[in-house]
Chain length 237, copies 2
Amino acid sequence: MDHTVSAFDDELRALGARLVDMGLMARRSVVDAVSALANRDGDLASQVSKDDDRIDALQKEIEEAGVLLIARRQPVARDLREVVAALRIAADLERIGDLAKNIAKRNVALTKIRQPQRLIGGVETLSTLVLDRLADVMAAFDARDAEAALRVWRGDGDIDVTYTAIFRSLLTYMMEDPRNITACTHLLFAAKNLERIGDHAANIAESVFYAATGNILTDDQDPPPEMVPAAAPVPVR
Amino acid sequence: MDHTVSAFDDELRALGARLVDMGLMARRSVVDAVSALANRDGDLASQVSKDDDRIDALQKEIEEAGVLLIARRQPVARDLREVVAALRIAADLERIGDLAKNIAKRNVALTKIRQPQRLIGGVETLSTLVLDRLADVMAAFDARDAEAALRVWRGDGDIDVTYTAIFRSLLTYMMEDPRNITACTHLLFAAKNLERIGDHAANIAESVFYAATGNILTDDQDPPPEMVPAAAPVPVR
């Protein structure tokens, strides 16, 4: 290996390390956002918003470093895919930070709710599943493990089922008592944002898989519209 | 100018032209999605879903072309910014396609609604504002016009006001009659998606401005949480 190759490897490793940090920050934001929501904690919500600024800045840095790496080292094949995947993953993590901020902000709307814990419990359960997924996919990235990435990509069944259950139960609460409508609407958006964070984890899995194998996972991820016009309300994903 | 420079210019122009096409496709998807929703047109909704696949494929192509351009031509300064901006804009347009697909799918949930036009009218008004914004920002991109991009970036006041009005009126409908809740929830998500498409137009404006000037517009875009715990329900953005 000549010195150019090893310089490239060093820079790529540094890029990967920054991405792992960014993943930890994004995950921490989701944890804090759900906690801010569940405990109506405005200070923590402000913290999530500040952290989002840092995550945004980190994305710009990673993008800049990645682009310079491509321009200076002109990597090909797997080396190039690794850099492209890093740029894509940074974009997904940036979106996760945005979604976390949006969840956190909704804490204000829940201060007047009558049975908060019962309603928020479902959202917390969903967040646990999503956080696990995010941790798994970032571990797969760190290990450059295509098999593990594929498992994450395939395994969003629990999130779908839980999201659908939350959607139904929130709509039922709204129908039972119109005073619940405003707060439940905000919880619906929070749940939707969590589900979307799960989708970004799936995107990250695609990027990890692409970097390792050069293959693109075809997106039959997208489930059929679950809108049976039956008695129970069902979400559209 | 030597032949390398002019080859770069040609490739950059071709990349820009593809991006303009992608912008038109994404905008068309939003038009069709709102029409599918308003007219409960399942065929058109399927078309939006197919178009989203084409938009996704186009993003991958533009990304690949942009990355190769950076690796082969090693552009610097404004040339490099133009390519990076193109990659970012393609990512925003891809997200717009996703959001349009999600809007279109919700047509099924509205088949049982009792007063569809009254409820859908607000969403259509919002879509008009968002579509104008998208057209304006893609025109700013095509003209490489930083001033025009800045105007788009600053001018989302109408969208905010309209989204807030829709949010309030949908919640009022839900409170008046629980039978409206399921359909109104889907319209709420549709309105939220349109507002988000407006945010992606703002992101595109940032990219156009960055390519032209090298400066980054600081994101005080983000409005304060509008959640006055008052009588009228207000959204969190």
